[in-house]
Symmetry: C2
Subunit: 174 residues, 2 copies
């Protein structure tokens, strides 16, 4: 079973931090990789890859030229997160049974065709908020909280949880 994320319509500069957060959230909460359409952004990819190098993986990031072709070719269930869709928590049980899932999150303007291509259009509330939060909540409910205990491989850095202050162990953790 694998979950991948597709981030639509990335724009260099304006979206760098939002897309980086989407990538990091995807990795932390159990997705295997993030794909993004829009502008090809080496800085975005490098910032995600440097996190994977330090904190472990596996996790991949890749630019796609055509989101349309990518969605069409994806073998699995396509879930588009949109505030206009049906409540996600009432549909998630069904999606948990699926083998491969592609979670599609929008940028500024999502082409109408995405709604047609998706198997599910789901809303993490029908209120305006954040694709980062929507993605995190969807993955959290999809994995039923088990993602919070996820172990990452080949990490060079690891936090030892503390009541106060910071404790980080570096290198040779695996």
């Amino acid at each position: 079973m694998a979950v991948f994320v597709l981030r639509l319509g990335h724009r260099i500069g304006r979206d760098k931090r939002i897309s980086t957060h989407c990538g990091l959230v995807s990795r932390t909460f159990g997705a295997s990789g993030i794909f993004y359409s829009g502008e090809n952004d080496e800085a975005l990819e490098n910032s995600i890859r440097s996190v994977v190098k330090s904190w472990g993986g596996p996790f991949e990031i890749k630019h796609v030229k055509s989101w349309r072709k990518f969605i069409e070719d994806f073998r699995g269930t396509k879930v588009h997160l949109t505030m206009y869709g049906l409540p996600f928590h009432k549909n998630i049980r069904q999606i948990r049974k699926m083998k491969n899932v592609l979670v599609i999150v929008g940028g500024e303007k999502v082409p109408g065709h995405v709604y047609q291509m998706a198997d599910f259009n789901l809303a993490v509330t029908s209120q305006p908020h954040s694709e980062i939060a929507a993605l995190a909540l969807f993955l959290h409910e999809f994995f039923q909280g088990k993602e919070l205990e996820k172990k990452f491989q080949k990490a060079n850095r690891k936090i030892i949880p503390q009541e106060r202050g910071k404790k980080v162990v570096e290198k040779h953790l695996d």
Copy 2:
């Protein structure tokens, strides 16, 4: 019972979108308001207030000059979300019993004193990701999913969930 959020160290320009997402996530997932320290940003406040005007409230946003004094003066339980803290899901039951909760989320560099002033330093995983996602997950687990059904007052706009496409009802909804 009320939950408030304090966003530390906002910087105009660089943080606008991230802080806006923090504000919108706070509103959507059941907090009563967001306070922020750092630079006083009218554009940020206006974007949150315009969402409240359209989509309902109550929800407030306010700048605080001194985060230190604000945290000191807050009457209630102070929870600082940090990747260095203890696992949040193992401590949330205890926090749910509290009457007033202040959830503190960092900016770029969190002063060490915040760790000392907080009653709890809690991690939404010990992995690097996003203060937006951390906030969303904390509120979701704090309210146990009930926030997903939250009704907003005096909304001028409301979405009618659809399997495909968009349906929005405007004005005189309340």
